[in-house]
């Protein structure tokens, strides 16, 4: 079990003929994701590594039954690509692209409400259900199946967290990067609600950062609705106010969006916050064990061996 992606995912890649598109399509295929099509306007009829390319998402859906899209398209065209996919009946769009204008994303979010489409991202690494399906750019080998759900605004910080979890024998049900932009298609809250319906997930790790109030909103929902243990980590305690720290959404505006406020809100709501990234894995092992979620030593052993051989 998992959230949002599983064995039924039939993936099309918008931007498949670009360098990033081509590379990551192949990586997802090797991981076991069923890639059924690519879309690049004007390149319909061609193939990329034996994946058929179509001019439009509608064509691709008609021909292949694609139900999910991964978007690796430059910022000026990405919002349009999202809307095209939603309009063509795609149920889940994962937009990796960083740098989409904010007003575009506001309009996209409004538009998506008129369709049945879920957007993950933009500016995200995607999501992965270990051992089953990968729709994103994260490194497959560090992931391992298990009972912990991971929700994060970051990319490489998520990989660090997953790496430590696997090393402790805590496998993951689904890891989802919701993205570093201020306006995203799927929030912490959306993920939490989905994870509560997933019987495989019995613990969660929330990885947040400065900016906005998504973590606070998630914390309140957890306090009121969630039974399973949750570990939290917030990046940016040392970030200076008023500066955008890489991610468009990572900014402390006045007094709001600080790491301190998020950590306090999480703790107030019963989330176990770890402030030392170096020992996050051990922290999770301790918390989850206390709540009846045992690490699997076999998983831990495999994770360490994978790291060595690559």
């Amino acid at each position: 079990m998992s959230i949002f992606i599983d064995r039924n995912t039939r993936l099309l890649v918008q931007g498949i003929t670009g360098r990033e598109g081509r590379f990551h399509t192949e990586q997802c295929r090797r991981y076991g994701t069923r890639i059924v099509a690519g879309v690049t306007p004007g390149k319909g009829g061609s193939e990329v590594d034996s994946t058929p390319v179509f001019d439009t998402v509608a064509d691709a859906v008609r021909a292949t039954g694609a139900n999910t899209s991964m978007i690796l398209v430059p910022p000026p065209f990405a919002a349009d690509a999202i809307m095209e996919a939603a309009d063509a009946g795609i149920g889940l769009v994962v937009c990796i692209t960083e740098g989409i204008p904010l007003l575009d994303m506001l309009r996209v979010r409004s538009f998506l409400r008129l369709t049945g489409c879920r957007l993950v991202g933009p500016n995200c690494p995607g999501l992965i259900t270990p051992g089953v399906c990968k729709v994103g750019i994260m490194p497959g080998p560090i992931h391992t199946p298990g009972p912990v759900g991971v929700i994060s605004r970051s990319g490489t910080l998520t990989y660090e967290v997953v790496h430590q979890l696997s090393g402790q024998g805590l496998g993951q049900s689904t890891c989802i990067g919701i993205g570093g932009d201020p306006v995203v298609g799927t929030t912490f809250l959306d993920c939490l609600q989905a994870f509560t319906r997933d019987p495989q997930t019995r613990g969660l790790v929330l990885v947040g950062e400065i900016g906005g109030s998504a973590e606070e909103e998630a914390a309140r929902w957890i306090r009121d609705h969630l039974d399973m243990p949750v570990v939290g980590f917030i990046a940016g305690l040392t970030a200076p106010p008023g500066r955008r720290m890489g991610h468009a959404g990572a900014i402390v505006s006045g007094s709001s969006g600080t790491a301190e406020a998020k950590i306090a809100a999480m703790r107030d709501c019963g989330i176990h916050v770890c402030e030392d990234l170096g020992s996050l894995g051990r922290f999770c092992a301790e918390i989850f064990t206390r709540h009846g979620l045992q690490p699997d030593p076999a998983v831990a052993g495999r994770a360490k061996r994978t790291g060595k051989d690559g």
Binding site: L102, G155, L237, T238, A250
Partner: protein, 387 residues
């Protein structure tokens, strides 16, 4: 990307918004010419990106030529220090000389995207001319917020509601309709992340006037606003940050002594936090992004080493797909080319990790390898204690 007040006013004036008559001046002579032309009293306002310039002496009223001359001489070339600029302050290179206005009332009006609701938010208040965060704290009922769906846009009922909440008279409401409609259009046409009019003045003559205007353009939208991109003023920016931007490195200079180089913004922030926990002070934020190759790393080294405060460096690269042996060779080459002579702790993760560590160990350089983040933190703690 922030716009100066005079740039924001020029932009908004093109949308029919009522701005005071004014001229930009970069010398006392030019300022006096402008003041004479406009007629006294005039306001002389420092054009800098930092807020809080009024309190720092960057805004003065002049009732005659002598006063104008004094004000211009004082403000032009001054180093303005505000809460935002910190000790470094910023030099005033330009002023806006504006005709004074007879103020009847000061309102507050702004438009900005609201991340939580995914709408465009219009904020209005009868308490203009002061810090809006203070108003929000002291008298929250004096602040009106209207959320506008970006697909349907600003509707008459939105404007009416705000007009009623601001208790506008009939004649004020008529002008307010056009004003807000035009302001909204200016925001959406130009991808503004913020348009703030504080104060929006209602004059004794019975008209609205944008006495101050603050605007910020979405950096992600500059590809479709060449004209706005040309308005960029980097003269107040840190020189190292400017140089890093040239290499497409995301770099923010801080005050500490331990430099960092990381791939990924979240991990970069977390690495800075880790240094502080280990007893050190991060010197910077540096995200080398997804393409962490030898060239980028060399640029990163050069930037970090150009900061005289930096006495040690922590490299934290989680490659995943990236091959650590390739990365290690890049680090060695970069460190050699830049003649690094301060402690460098390298933590890499990805494929071929062992090979990568061997390459670092075999090099002539004193590169310290960390096996994991906890190890990196410990090694940094040791270095920080000796600094």
């Amino acid at each position: 990307m922030k716009l100066h007040e005079y740039q924001a006013k020029e932009l908004l004036a093109r949308y029919g918004l009522p701005v005071p008559e004014g001229r930009v001046a970069d010398s006392v002579e030019a300022g006096l010419q402008a003041a004479d032309h406009l007629g006294y009293p005039v306001a002389i306002k420092a054009q800098v990106h930092a807020g809080g310039r009024g309190k720092a002496g960057g805004v003065r009223l002049a009732h005659n030529r002598d006063e104008a001359g004094e004000a211009l001489a004082a403000i032009l070339g001054m180093t303005l220090r505000t809460a935002q600029t910190g000790e470094r302050g910023c030099r005033v290179r330009r002023v806006l000389v504006e005709r004074g206005a007879a103020i009847h009332h000061e309102f507050y009006l702004s438009i900005l995207p609201d991340r939580a609701s995914g709408t465009m938010m219009v904020i209005g208040s009868t308490e203009g001319g002061m810090d809006i965060e203070e108003v929000a704290a002291r008298t929250p009922d004096r602040i009106s917020r209207i959320r506008v769906d970006p697909l349907t846009g600003l509707q008459p009922f939105h404007i009416r509601r705000l007009a009623f909440e601001l208790d506008l008279t009939d004649s004020q409401e008529k002008q307010f309709f056009d004003l807000l409609r035009n302001l909204y259009r200016a925001v959406t046409d130009n991808d503004l992340l913020l348009a703030e009019i504080n104060p929006l003045v209602f004059t004794a003559d019975g008209t609205f006037l944008l006495l101050d205007a603050k605007a910020e353009v979405d950096g992600n939208s500059l590809f479709r606003h060449r004209d706005l991109a040309a308005l960029r003023d980097d003269s107040d920016r840190d020189l190292l940050e400017l140089e890093a931007a040239r290499y497409k490195l995301n770099y923010i200079r801080l005050e500490g002594t331990i430099g960092t180089m990381v791939n990924g913004a979240g991990l970069a922030m977390a690495t800075m936090d880790l240094i502080k926990r280990a007893g050190g002070a991060p010197a910077n934020f540096l995200d080398v992004g997804g393409g962490a190759n030898a060239v980028m790393i060399e640029h990163g080294f050069r930037i970090l080493l150009s900061d005289p405060r930096v006495r040690a460096i922590l490299i934290n690269i989680f490659g995943g797909i990236l091959r650590c042996d390739v990365l290690a060779r890049g680090v060695v080459a970069a460190a050699t080319a830049t003649a690094v002579d301060i402690p460098v702790v390298v933590r890499m993760e990805g494929t071929n990790v062992e090979e990568g560590r061997r390459i670092l160990a075999d090099s002539d350089l004193e590169l310290v390898t960390a096996t994991d983040l906890a190890d990196a933190a410990e090694k940094i703690a040791g270095i920080a204690a000796r600094l």
